[in-house]
């Protein structure tokens, strides 16, 4: 049984003039336990919309999402999310931010245990020195680490990441990717990540799912990344395999599904 089952999901919005806009068109995807899936596509193609539907923040117009065979009707602790903008509450310290999430996931547990879990989660992302700090006191990369710690702290079945490293510089991004790989290997969490960074997708994913251009985005193509783990970032840029995925994905995005204004 798949950990996450996206079954025939369509999403349409009604715009101001009352016209119906189809964002996602009958998308089906089954994601296995401890699989790492990246959703890739042009900006505006609906990949974040799909992730928000999986998170339960949006309800699909038709179709269903099942997480561990239970139908998703709203957000739930088994699907934690890392947001694009770290989304830490600036009036709480790092540990309080994590604690707020942990408290809901382990309701009824004694406070000392909750605090302990929150601190452990921050240690997992090497932030033991920032436990009592406020978000404004730490760097952008550290804030996103706290966001990751918060998501892992609730021990989700499925971790959802919405372009979590998009706002970070290249070096910070690589170190956070390494961090993410390490944690996912130990926790065996199923991951769905939205990205528009092809290298990131190849480095992290078991499968890369490319969406076609919106409106009415569908699954365009799926690559299974066979490169064994642990993967070497440097080798991926020179290896035949790495280059092959990169070329195919680029071809798909720029030739087969070019950005609408470039289509001839």
């Amino acid at each position: 049984m798949a950990d996450l089952d996206i079954n025939d999901v369509s999403m349409s919005f009604v715009d101001r003039s009352g016209k119906q806009l189809i964002a996602l068109d009958r998308i089906s995807l089954a994601i296995e336990h401890s699989e790492f899936v990246c959703l890739i596509g042009h900006s505006g193609c609906g990949k974040s919309t799909l992730l928000n539907i999986v998170a339960g923040l949006l309800m699909p117009t038709s179709g269903t999402i099942r997480c561990a065979s239970a139908v998703v009707t709203g957000p739930g602790p088994e699907r934690a999310m890392v947001f694009q903008s770290h989304a830490l509450l600036p009036w709480m310290t790092c540990v309080e931010n994590v604690h707020l999430a942990v408290k809901q996931a382990f309701r009824g547990a004694p406070r000392s245990e909750l605090m302990d879990r929150a601190e452990q989660a921050l240690k997992l992302v090497h932030l033991e020195h920032a436990i009592g700090k406020y978000p404004f006191e730490i760097s952008g990369g550290m804030k996103q680490r706290v966001g990751i710690a918060r998501a892992f702290a609730v021990q989700p079945k499925v971790l959802l990441l919405d372009e979590p490293f998009g706002a970070l510089d290249a070096l910070t991004r690589s170190s956070l990717q390494d961090e993410l790989v390490r944690i996912v290997e130990t926790t065996k969490t199923t991951v769905v990540m939205v990205t528009h960074d092809i290298d990131e997708a190849i480095f992290l994913s078991d499968r890369i799912v490319a969406l076609s251009n919106g409106p009415a985005a569908r699954i365009g193509r799926i690559w299974k990344v066979e490169t064994p783990r642990p993967r070497d970032r440097l080798k991926l840029t020179t290896d035949f395999e790495g280059i092959k995925y990169r070329k195919e994905i680029l071809e798909f995005l720029y030739k087969k599904e070019p950005f609408p204004q470039f289509a001839s």
């Binding site: 998170a55 339960g56 739930g76």
Partner: protein, 280 residues
């Protein structure tokens, strides 16, 4: 040295000195039977005033002297007709404090409700929009008639003028909490009450405090006028009373004090705002 002279505060002092010089020149130069200010007064008041001795705008020194006298006797309280200026200011500030606190107690919870339930906001909005632009002084006769007490009336006036900015900014702050913070609550399943107290409220604190700052400014603005109309004490009453006695120098001293206290109130609330607001 040159750099020091280019500081803005040097220019401020220069402007102040220049202002005092012009003031002094206009009020003291021609020492004839009719001073410059008298001539000015005569021109404004018509020919009838030209012959008689009118009370001129006092010179800066006269105002400074009057200021010294007023402050030396600031705490006088021996009889109701000789109340020191400090007492008047205390009366005014106490009325502002009471009216403002009442307004705060009403505006913040109500604004919170309006922000959380847009339907409530929409239902009350027409009333807010109609009542908000009404000059606080327009309420004065009605307040005096209703409460039959000048002190309660002035407090009511302060309340009615201070309530709107705080109400609207609280409602706006509560309704416009960033989507990402709301999503944090939803994704991690923060229960409603905790969501309101630990997410929505802290997020709207900066807006609430800026509303408070606007309100205290308006309240201090309005108290002077309110006391002129309907009180037997307070700085507004003091100014009006000195006007009736043609004590122009006292009026000017009071105006400066009103300005200084208004500034102090604003700085205090700004500091509180910086202390209580979150940083990003």
């Amino acid at each position: 040295m040159l750099n020091r002279l280019q500081q803005p505060w040097v220019a401020s002092i220069a402007i102040f000195v220049g202002f005092i010089c012009i003031w002094a020149w206009l009020t003291t130069t021609p020492s004839g039977p009719i001073s410059a200010a008298d001539a000015e007064y005569a021109r404004l008041a018509g020919q009838s005033a030209s012959g008689q001795q009118a009370s001129a705008i006092p010179s800066p020194w006269a105002v400074a002297l009057r200021g010294y006298e007023l402050i030396a006797h600031a705490l006088d309280n021996d009889n109701p007709n000789n109340l020191g200026i400090a007492w008047h200011l205390v009366y005014s500030m106490a009325r502002v404090a009471l009216g403002f606190t009442l307004a705060l107690a009403v505006a913040v919870p109500l604004g919170f409700i309006l922000g959380l339930w847009p339907a409530c906001y929409q239902a009350l909005d027409p009333f807010i929009q109609v009542l908000r632009p009404v000059s606080p002084l327009a309420w004065m006769p009605l307040a005096l008639y209703t409460f039959r007490d000048s002190t309660i009336s002035t407090i009511f006036i302060i309340f009615i003028c201070a309530v709107w900015p705080m109400l609207i900014s609280t409602a706006t702050g509560t309704a416009s909490v960033r989507a990402e913070w709301l999503n944090v609550s939803r994704v991690f399943g923060v229960p409603k009450l905790e969501h309101v107290t630990r997410v929505v409220f802290p997020a709207s604190v900066p807006m609430i405090l800026s509303g408070m700052r606007i309100s205290i400014g308006i309240a201090w603005f309005v108290i002077v006028a309110a006391e002129m109309v309907g009180a037997q004490s307070g700085i507004g009453y003091f100014i009006w009373n000195e006007w009736n006695n043609l004590q122009i120098a006292s009026m000017i001293v009071a105006i400066v004090l009103v300005g200084a206290i208004g500034l102090a109130l604003d700085v205090i609330l700004k500091r509180i705002g910086e202390r209580l607001s979150f940083r990003e």
